[in-house]
Symmetry: C2
Subunit: 199 residues, 2 copies
């Protein structure tokens, strides 16, 4: 491994979908180890006085985001459906990802959840959808119970506080050493930094 990148994402975030589906392969090609860190945008947005996604608060920005996502997903051969409602509630999925503990399983589970949400139009707050994602990731469905443990809940709160303390204000975000990179558009730059090659 040439370096390490911390990948901060929120399960309901459209642009996180883009990075979730490609960061594994891109990082492997650069021998960069990725630490997957789910967090919640809700508290981040609440601190800015917002009670929903800025894409809902600012309609022109929201209309643009949906079209931008359509174009990028088409170019990358990714299925894309607009979740309804948006944003979905990613709380259970985030707790499950934290409870999964093993990185290789977190990645598989996370990809399954994003595919279910943006590819199949599933409601990712539903237990049935999440159980399907656990199965696809080779994870034990008993995790549904373990993810409700107080230790998991407080770990997710702490992780979200860590994100805010690190200067994160949106998702996806990437941290390499002292550098913060925001948005799927910065993934290549973040990986290059992590690989020790400043671009």
């Amino acid at each position: 491994m040439r370096g390490r990148l911390t990948f901060w994402f929120e399960f309901a975030s459209t642009y996180s979908y883009l990075s979730v589906m490609r960061i594994g392969a891109l990082a492997a090609a650069r021998s960069v180890a990725v630490t997957w860190r789910p967090f919640l945008l809700g508290p981040v947005f609440a601190a800015q006085g917002w009670d929903t996604s800025p894409f809902n608060i600012y309609p022109a920005k929201g209309r643009y985001m949906w079209r931008d996502m359509e174009r990028i997903c088409t170019a990358r051969g990714l299925p894309f459906r607009r979740p309804d409602p948006f944003p979905q509630n990613g709380l259970k999925a985030a707790r499950l990802a934290l409870a999964a503990a093993e990185t290789v399983r977190i990645e598989a589970f996370t990809k399954a959840v994003f595919q279910a949400q943006f590819g199949d139009g599933a409601d990712i707050s539903s237990d049935a959808a999440l159980q399907g994602c656990l199965r696809r990731a080779g994870l034990d469905e008993a995790l549904m119970q373990r993810a409700q443990a107080p230790a998991v809940k407080s770990a997710l709160r702490a992780q979200t506080e860590d994100a805010i303390a690190a200067g994160i204000f949106g998702a996806p975000s990437f941290i390499s050493g002292p550098e913060l990179f925001w948005g799927d558009d910065r993934l290549e730059q973040a990986l290059a930094h992590a690989a020790g090659r400043e671009i």
Copy 2:
């Protein structure tokens, strides 16, 4: 010319600087004609309830933007100084660009203003700085007077209303046919669309 791209920018916008300095060469390489359209972000932001740049309203986003600009300018070999105050007042510069009328001069003048602002740390609301930019663009300094004409003032207001009507919510933005692209990160995609090559 293979296509046409409308380039919407605001003179005080940091990310507009990135596109202003490279759109000419990139568009020429693709035989795309560029229409330069300055507009004012002030009314766009006011419609969203903001009285200054969102980079000032949301400190974490602002801190990130300055570092992001530094990194990108370093990578591109562009000088970068943080304007003080930020944002600057780009009203006179926008009126001058509209009064210049000829595209080739608008581009030269606009690049001179952005270089003065972000390269040299000049105050682009000062007549002296703007006169220097007119000279560097081969434009008549008498334009300083003509830019105050009611027709120019109303043309800039109309252009800003056109931007909002086109769904623009930030700068830089690019329009190719029915497609809106936002941000310097989308310049290549916008040019490819304008050149008739959907990517």
